[in-house]
């Protein structure tokens, strides 16, 4: 029981990270109907920018943990958002209105490019970061086993919830959010009503990349090591989460992320660690086959 409780805590933390990445997929898919294949790599870039900012702050003498965390978060979000902007501008915008596979292929190219860009510029080795936040609480103590939650895990869960709340507000209450939803429903009509569609799509990528940066920073803090390849698997899993939750649905993305995180953690804990990716990918297949619109998704009716 206690063991399961501990896995629940770990799974929730991991699920929050997946959920944050999944939001980026789901928004982009919602608005332009393409899988932003490079999103996982934007997440990886976010982790690297966070790492470099931590090192810079450390060298600059800013060691107070709360200040450092907030600063790094802000820096990582800004720079990664710029990546989101650049990726959209270079690889996707020229292909708007082209045939369906073209943006997907150029997205795959972008993903390969970003991975190798980081590999070439920062080296292929894993990058460790000393734990920034230490300590934790014991939730439940038994003779042989104790259930604990670290401060880091609390920070991850809380930050994700706050970011989500802010983000939901942006999408539901601001003019930008309204423009995004309008473009999602009907781009041509939105254009006729005076919405700058290009700008809205660009901002969607920027927001998605900023969320990926948050996820990247959390990943770095939680695991303590990153390399240039983390984006691929995390990206596919986050996409699975987005599909599981119903693509296009924001709460669905987070719900899907949590489920994938929990499934993966429990699978590793009770069955086998080697096959945890297989578990996550099988969920993707099963969802798509039996429930193509996901948990919270709308049913698409295909018109002729």
């Amino acid at each position: 029981m206690d063991y399961a409780l501990q896995q629940l805590v770990n799974g929730l933390t991991l699920g929050m990270i997946y959920g944050l990445i999944a939001l980026g997929y789901t928004m982009v898919y919602g608005i332009i109907g393409m899988i932003n294949f490079a999103h996982g790599d934007v997440f990886m870039i976010g982790a690297f920018v966070s790492l470099i900012s931590f090192l810079l702050l450390g060298a600059g003498g800013i060691t107070a943990v709360p200040i450092a965390l907030v600063l790094v978060l802000a820096i990582a979000m800004c720079f990664t958002a710029l990546y989101g902007f650049a990726v959209e501008r270079i690889a996707y915008r020229p292909l708007r209105g082209s045939f369906r596979l073209a943006p997907l292929i150029s997205a795959i190219g972008m993903s390969i490019f970003l991975q190798n860009f980081v590999q070439v510029s920062q080296g292929a080795r894993v990058k460790p970061l000393e734990p920034v936040v230490r300590g934790g609480f014991v939730l439940h103590q038994e003779a042989s086993f104790s259930v604990s939650i670290s401060i880091m895990q609390i920070i991850i869960i809380l930050t994700t919830l706050v970011v989500l709340a802010v983000f939901t507000l942006v999408v539901s209450r601001t003019p930008l959010g309204r423009a995004m939803r309008a473009c999602e429903q009907d781009q041509r009509m939105a254009k006729l009503l005076g919405i700058d569609v290009d700008r809205t799509i660009s901002l969607t990528f920027v927001l998605g990349a900023a969320l990926a940066a948050v996820a990247g920073m959390m990943y770095l803090l939680y695991y303590g090591v990153i390399d240039f390849f983390i984006g691929f698997v995390a990206g596919v899993k986050a996409f699975t989460a987005a599909v599981l939750g119903g693509i296009g649905s924001l709460p669905g993305a987070v719900l899907g992320g949590l489920l994938i995180g929990l499934i993966e953690t429990f699978w590793s804990a009770y069955f086998s660690v080697q096959y945890k990716d297989v578990a996550a990918f099988s969920i993707l297949v099963l969802t798509l086959v039996f429930m193509p619109s996901g948990l919270l998704g709308r049913n698409d009716v295909e018109k002729v």
Binding site: M34, I35, I45, L51, I52, S53, L55, L56, A59, F79, L82, F85, A86, I90, A91, P94, L95, R96, G97, F99, R100, L101, A102, L104, I105, S106, I108, G109, M110, S111, I112, F113, L114, N116, F117, V118, Q119, V120, S121, G123, R125, K127, P128, F232, V236, F239, T240, V243, Q274, Y275, D277, V278, F281, S282, L284, V285, L288, V289, P292, V304
Partner: protein
């Protein structure tokens, strides 16, 4: 504000400079953390080394590059818009007309290549590699180009073929020639097993599920140590024989060299492998061309053009998709068996997602559905890789960038637009947007 209302700037160069300046600014922001700083192992954890020179050089390069691009293409609209505005082309495209001459030439060249004087072992090896990818491209072309199903996990079937042959040879002592048809069958079976549950998915979903399948197969190969050797792979895969005559440097009675009374030479095996893959690739091409005139092939193309209409006309969508998937998988399996026997060693590392992406890039760059285009694209791509061999690390960087650039430059690939396999009355060219659409 729309584009039309905005006033054109007085001086185009000022606008260009402004544009280039903005691009440079973005490059500065994008490059600042990752190019401007380098993380190196330091005393405790990591240390940072600033690299301002590299950063500034990159920013300058972006500025100049953007400015020059702007100068060169000032009046060119984006490829997507050009396509939408261009009048529908009548008759075969220029590329297709040239293709009529190029294809036999290429074929003659590839048949004669090993006997051309001055061609050594290196060139033949490179030719073999190129032909392997040509074959894989043609195999995937059946799935992506003809049936319009986007498969991002094609390498799974390549892996199934390679491991299938290695296991058959190691545990059941089958020769290459006995195992070859079985690997094709084996891979096709896997194609059906994987395809069955997912083929009713829409395009992008199908793509991501096939990617997941590719990864699942790789993870299983990596962890099923007793059968596949896990990360260490399988070594000692038997080399092919010339219909029972082994290639041996020792010469003697029962060997290839001995039987034909030749001086034993390492070139024999290499040349034999070259012709073997050439034959396999041509078989793939031949089957594809013939199938296109067969009801099955027409059903594939009908499905690609409009799934709902084909269903309304009574096609069994699942059966049609499965045959395409299985046929593509079978050729992938053949190529895999060839790969295993050529290398003599296989490991899961050879079957990563990058490999799938490379094959898909070949198909798309070649102009989906065009056999000649795939062959040219494979030659360019693998040849390009070979040229950049010295720059090991930068190779994939350039590859990724090239994929983006080619898509932006020619979204439909090199040979876009091809003659329809069947048409009523006057022959015309299918608009390439139809070739690639694959809705449903």
């Amino acid at each position: 504000m729309t584009e039309a209302i905005r006033k054109p700037p007085a001086n185009p160069y000022v606008a260009l400079l402004k544009d280039a300046g903005l691009a440079a600014l973005v490059a500065l922001g994008v490059g600042a953390p990752l190019l401007g700083m380098q993380t190196v192992p330091g005393g405790r954890g990591l240390a940072l080394i600033p690299r301002p020179g590299l950063l500034l050089a990159t920013v300058a390069a972006v500025f100049v590059g953007r400015f020059l691009l702007g100068l060169l293409f000032a009046n060119r609209r984006s490829a997507a818009r050009r396509e939408a505005e261009a009048p529908p082309r009548i008759g075969p495209s220029p590329m297709a007309r040239i293709g009529k001459l190029v294809a036999p030439g290429l074929l003659a060249f590839s048949v004669l290549m090993p006997v051309i004087p001055g061609i050594g072992r290196y060139e033949i090896d490179l030719g073999t590699l190129v032909l392997t990818y040509v074959m894989l491209g043609w195999g995937l072309n059946i799935v992506v180009g003809l049936a319009g199903l986007l498969d991002l996990g094609y390498v799974a079937f390549y892996a199934v073929g390679a491991y299938g042959y290695a296991i058959m040879a190691k545990f059941f002592d089958l020769s290459f020639w006995a195992a070859l048809p079985l690997t094709g069958l084996f891979a096709a079976t896997w194609g059906i097993i994987l395809g069955f549950p997912v083929l009713r998915l829409r395009g992008d979903y199908l793509a991501i599920v096939t990617l997941a399948f590719g990864e699942i197969i790789r993870v299983v190969l990596l962890n099923w140590t007793t059968l596949t050797g896990g990360p260490n792979g399988m070594s000692g895969v038997p080399r092919p024989t010339f219909f029972g005559l082994p290639f041996s440097m020792a010469g003697g009675e029962g060997t290839f060299a001995g039987f034909f009374g030749l001086e034993p030479s390492a070139l024999h095996r290499v040349t034999f492998l070259y012709y073997l893959i050439l034959a396999l690739a041509l078989l793939t091409n031949f089957v594809t061309i013939r199938l296109r005139r067969h009801p099955v092939g027409r059903a594939w193309e009908a499905l690609r053009e409009d799934e709902i209409a084909s269903r309304a006309l009574g096609l069994s969508v699942v059966a049609v998709k499965l045959t395409a998937f299985a046929t593509g998988a079978m050729f992938g399996g053949f190529a895999g068996a060839f790969f295993a026997t050529r290398q003599g060693f296989i490991s899961p590392e050879s079957f990563t997602f990058i490999e799938s992406a490379l094959i898909l890039a070949i198909v798309v760059l070649g102009g989906m559905g065009s056999q000649l285009g795939v062959a040219i694209a494979a030659t360019l791509m693998i040849g390009g890789f070979e040229v950049f061999r010295g720059l090991e690390e930068f190779r994939m960087l350039v590859f990724g960038l090239a994929m983006v650039a080619i898509m932006v430059w020619r979204p439909r690939g090199l040979v876009s637009g091809r003659e329809p396999s069947v048409s009523l009355g006057k022959r015309g060219t299918i608009g390439s947007e139809h070739v690639a659409e694959g809705k449903g």
